[in-house]
């Protein structure tokens, strides 16, 4: 029995994503790609995870205690927020080039969440270059991409409920989402990776699981 099977998981009865609400009123939506992302991590002896979102205590417990991951928490949303408030977004691509102290090919999984939606093209390219550098061959990257323009300015914390459900927790932001990326734009952006799973969720998010080819990136 694999580690994933031992996790207490709420099974989605149907194949389609289900949007609901948690006891705290925060929306919960199903995810298909997360399970596959976790499978990549659990296949490793001591997986290393890079989380680009704001720290969430329950996520740290989930990945650290249940999956035995070593977790790097690098909150890019906080960096983006600071650059937005300081009106130094022009320097953000250069900042990203030196942002990560993680060695090359040292990470098994990257939780990219939806950070790319908030970046201009130059920043997005600088970020993906760094992410590809840090990812091990056969490593996985999970990203969310909006498919409809959002009027409000907020970031989202994604809280792992279990392997098939994520909770959304919005918090205020100074930065707006940039223009919506088409599928081909996303694929070009992560051209060094290959798309292994792509799902359009009912909440207008596209979740994509990328894998780094074994032969390099």
């Amino acid at each position: 029995m694999g580690l994933l099977d031992r996790l207490v998981a709420r099974k989605a009865e149907s194949g389609s994503p289900v949007v609901g609400a948690s006891a705290g009123g925060e929306p919960v939506f199903s995810t298909k790609a997360l399970r596959k992302f976790l499978a990549v991590l659990t296949a490793r002896e001591s997986p290393v995870l890079l989380d680009l979102g704001a720290v969430v205590g329950s996520n740290v417990s989930f990945f650290g205690e249940q999956l035995g991951c070593k977790i790097f928490v690098e909150n890019l949303y906080a960096d983006l927020e600071r650059h937005t408030r300081d009106q130094t977004l022009d320097a953000f691509p250069e900042f990203l080039k030196t942002r990560f102290a993680v060695e090359s090919a040292a990470v098994d999984g990257i939780l990219c969440w939806d950070i790319v939606d908030y970046l201009d093209r130059r920043s997005a390219l600088a970020l993906t270059e760094q992410l590809v550098r840090m990812l091990r061959p056969e490593g996985a990257l999970l990203g969310f991409f909006g498919t409809a323009p959002a009027r409000d300015t907020f970031y989202t914390k994604y809280v792992v409920v279990d392997e098939v459900n994520l909770k959304h927790r919005a918090y205020p932001a100074a930065c707006r989402r940039q223009s919506i990326l088409l599928n081909r734009d996303i694929i070009r952006l992560f051209s060094s990776l290959r798309v292994t799973e792509s799902f359009l969720l009912q909440n207008n998010l596209r979740e994509i699981l990328f894998r780094k080819p074994a032969w390099g990136g």
């Binding site: 720290v55 969430v56 205590g57 417990s61 035995g68 070593k70 900042f95 030196t98 102290a101």
Partner: protein, 189 residues
């Protein structure tokens, strides 16, 4: 004398309530307002006006409201960084509770607990880690499953120590020892 006797005498046969006891704020001694450290119920408290630079060793629970730079070792005890605590140090303890700010790596044999408004910039090694919703954390988390507590490495440049032992809360202020933490080397930190 007369006034004190009158003060404790029951009035109209009603029992006298004990004088209200107000809890002393963390970091302040009720008997000696200027005292920065106290031993009370086996918990040592380093007050917010205290600055310690060097190596801090102890064999009892410790609460820090002041500033510590260097290394902190409480191998079998609980270290609490109070809301006013500012730590630039490598920390080794059984459990670490953070309500203030820590810049440096934290190693605990049982648990690290970053409370609301607590902040850690550094790497955490502990079998259990709890991070509250309003907490700040930047670094890595390694929930090692080894039972033995990690042995601290003595940082270069630390020549003197400040020890806290039961019944002796004296701390010696020493020349600064700069902790070398991955967090310090991170760009944008």
């Amino acid at each position: 004398m007369w006034k004190r006797d009158e003060a404790v005498r029951p009035v109209s046969g009603q029992p006298v309530a004990p004088p209200p006891q107000t809890p002393a704020p963390i970091g302040a001694s009720s008997n000696h307002p200027g005292t920065n450290q106290k031993v009370e119920n086996d918990i040592v408290n380093i007050g917010k006006s205290v600055v310690i630079k060097g190596e801090l060793n102890g064999s009892e629970d410790l609460t820090i409201e002041g500033q510590v730079e260097g290394t902190i070792q409480l191998r079998d005890h609980v270290l609490t960084i109070g809301p006013n605590g500012r730590i630039k140090a490598q920390v080794f303890a059984k459990s670490v509770i953070v309500l203030g700010q820590v810049a440096g790596n934290v190693t605990a044999s049982e648990k690290v607990d970053i409370r609301d408004n607590g902040s850690v910039d550094g790497d955490i090694v502990s079998p259990r880690v709890a991070i509250a919703e309003g907490a700040h954390f930047r670094g890595s988390v390694d929930m090692q499953r080894k039972g033995a507590p990690a042995q601290p490495q003595k940082p270069a440049g630390t020549s003197a120590t400040a020890s806290v032992a039961p019944g002796n809360a004296a701390a010696t202020q020493t020349p600064a020892a700069q902790p070398s933490t991955p967090a310090a080397h991170r760009a944008g930190a």
